[in-house]
């Protein structure tokens, strides 16, 4: 293995700045590592030639003293971000062959900062899923395997979580220093937790949604998946910024998030929400949560019991709002403007129905139908309006809590990664993966998952911190303290075996 393999984003950037290696050298190492990780099916499209071209251009910029904040650092991009002239699939059959004639704002921001694109990462189809098993391009495998205790000898392949499963797996496999994903109801935080990584969902409006294939527009938000909290701070600074092309993009300056990471959390109040202690919660998750409380307390913060009374209603609320918005957003896939067309010899409606029937997978179809139903005449008030009212109550819960606390600590997921094929028969069991992630999404708040320990089978578990709107710096500061205390340094089987 090359000496440049497995660097974190900060290590890669520092090495490039010091001239220890060139971007071309680092990028070649990552390209080889991405190739070696092919058994994980983490990437839909690899772009090695483009990567090397971008790396050489980066080295030229650096030679001229014009390097940006991420100059020369290779990244994997969730295949939900439109990339100019590069196949963009959303992991759906219906976008067959789609090469956008434009670049998403977030990726354009990253390229402006000098980053290098390794390729497009696999995901759940249209970002709808919590296991990366709904991709038209096949499931992604988690680089981690059960190796300890009851899990020893259980060699089943595990899911990386979803929907940003490929983005998480490729970073966990040490093939890319960092990646970007999107989070609608946990799609960055849950895979980060399952893969032993840091995953940050910024405040709604912090990153432009322009050029991201839309799933649920009032929830979708781009964010980084990284090995360290500081890496996430660096990535967010490069990704974020006001964009007039997204009317919900916040007209705010982007602060230096890493500068907020002082490591000093003395006197901060950390909310511990009673309602997240759900029935049947595993003792391991509960124990880890208590450990997290103790760590923050030892660093001088004060844990405060709080109540978020409408927590249990967040998931059913989400499963009205998200499918409703999805059914509307996905109306654009009509077999006319891009991608797949089936039944072209039929009448127009027949062509629409054939194209969409053939192009959408089972989970997408299920959500489009639910969404169509809850928005249909006579049911709108009972479902969609009700859900939007619930959303107000959930946001108000957080608003009240943040009058007394500075951040909220909770588990990221109710379990560690499960086997590919598990939970496939029961949609609601699959949806439960995001029970702790969805409330912050509905309220538009920033939230981060930090790897905090291993379960009895040797799989990573994450702790989640939820912060105040547009105060990602303060959130990252607490996350950094948690990371420092947890000292998570385990590596997945895929890495230790090679």
């Amino acid at each position: 293995m090359s000496a440049l393999a497995g660097l974190t984003l900060t290590q890669a950037r520092d090495g490039l700045e010091k001239g220890d290696f060139s971007s071309a050298e680092l990028t070649e190492t990552c390209i080889a590592a991405v190739e070696a990780a092919r058994p994980l099916n983490a990437m839909i499209t690899e772009t090695p030639e483009k990567a090397l071209e971008m790396a050489r251009a980066s080295d030229d910029r650096r030679a001229k003293g014009e390097a940006g904040v991420l100059d020369g650092v290779p990244l994997a991009i969730k295949d939900l971000f439109c990339t100019d002239g590069v196949l963009t699939t959303a992991a759906s059959h219906i976008l067959d062959g789609f090469e956008p004639p434009y670049e998403s704002t977030v990726t354009a921001n990253l390229w402006r900062a000098g980053a290098v694109m390794l390729g497009k990462a696999n995901l759940d189809e249209f970002a709808m899923g919590s296991s990366n098993t709904t991709s038209f391009y096949g499931p992604v495998e988690n680089p981690w395997r059960r190796t300890m205790g009851d899990g020893e000898g259980d060699n089943r392949k595990l899911v990386p979580g979803g929907s940003s499963g490929g983005s998480a797996a490729i970073v966990a496999a040490r093939a890319a220093p960092a990646s970007i994903g999107t989070d609608t109801g946990g799609s960055i935080r849950q895979p980060a937790a399952f893969c032993g990584l840091v995953g940050l969902k910024p405040t709604y409006g912090r990153c432009s949604r322009w050029g991201i294939v839309a799933f649920a527009s009032s929830l979708d938000q781009a964010g980084p998946i990284t090995r360290t909290v500081r890496d996430a701070a660096l990535m967010l600074r490069a990704m974020a910024g006001h964009d007039p092309k997204d009317s919900t993009s916040a007209p705010l300056d982007v602060p230096d998030f890493a500068a907020a990471m002082t490591g000093d959390i003395r006197g901060l109040k950390i909310g511990i929400p009673a309602e997240y202690r759900v029935d049947g919660m595993s003792p391991e998750i509960d124990g880890l949560w208590q450990q997290g409380i103790d760590w923050l307390k030892a660093a001088g913060a004060e844990p405060v019991e709080i109540s978020l009374p409408h927590t249990k209603y967040a998931l059913p609320t989400y499963y009205i709002v998200a499918p409703a918005e999805a059914s509307s957003n996905l109306a654009r896939y009509d077999g006319v403007r891009f991608g797949l067309r089936e039944g072209g010899d039929r009448d127009l409606t027949g062509m629409y129905e054939e194209t969409r029937g053939a192009g959408f997978g089972r989970e997408v179809r299920r959500r489009v139908l639910i969404g169509t139903y809850v928005l249909s005449a006579g049911y709108y008030d009972a479902y969609y309006l009700k859900a939007q009212k619930m959303r107000t109550l959930i946001a108000n819960d957080f608003k009240a809590a943040f009058e007394t606390v500075d951040a909220i600590l909770a588990p990221t997921t109710p379990s560690a990664a499960f086997a590919i094929g598990e939970k496939q028969d029961d949609p609601i069991a699959m949806y439960m993966n995001d029970v702790f992630a969805v409330p912050a999404s509905l309220a538009g708040l920033p939230a981060i998952s930090v790897p905090a320990g291993l379960d009895g089978a040797g799989l990573p578990l994450g702790l989640q911190l939820i912060g105040k709107a547009f105060e990602e710096g303060a959130l990252l500061n607490v996350a950094g303290v948690l990371e420092e205390a947890a000292r998570f340094d385990a590596a997945p089987a895929f890495v230790t075996a090679t």
């Binding site: 007039p244 916040a250 209603y313 991608g339």
Partner: protein, 95 residues
């Protein structure tokens, strides 16, 4: 609320989504389960609660009503499965 096969067939048509006849019954069961689970929201009295209309506390900005781009018909139609001369082609809709 239990969804029957006819309702699933109707919403599939509203969504312009062809669902094979043999998949209607299992889909009806799945959707019924999900909607049944969602109905727990009925426990909460929301009569006096305003619906959320914006996640972030900001009003939507207005912009000048001016042309910001254009003249890129070839780019816009480049991904079309069928079309020519800068047009999208669809099955005949007028006899």
């Amino acid at each position: 609320m239990a969804l029957d096969i006819d309702t699933v067939r109707r919403i599939a048509h509203l969504a312009r989504l062809k669902v094979p006849e043999e998949e209607l019954a299992p889909l009806a069961d799945e959707l019924t389960n999900i909607l049944g689970w969602v109905e727990q929201l009925g426990e909460v009295d929301t009569a006096d609660v305003p619906p959320m209309t914006s996640v972030a506390a900001m009003t939507l900005p207005m912009r000048e009503d001016v042309v910001t781009d254009g003249g890129i018909a070839d780019k816009i139609t480049a991904n079309a499965p069928d079309g020519e001369n800068g047009f999208f082609a669809v099955p005949k809709v007028v006899e």
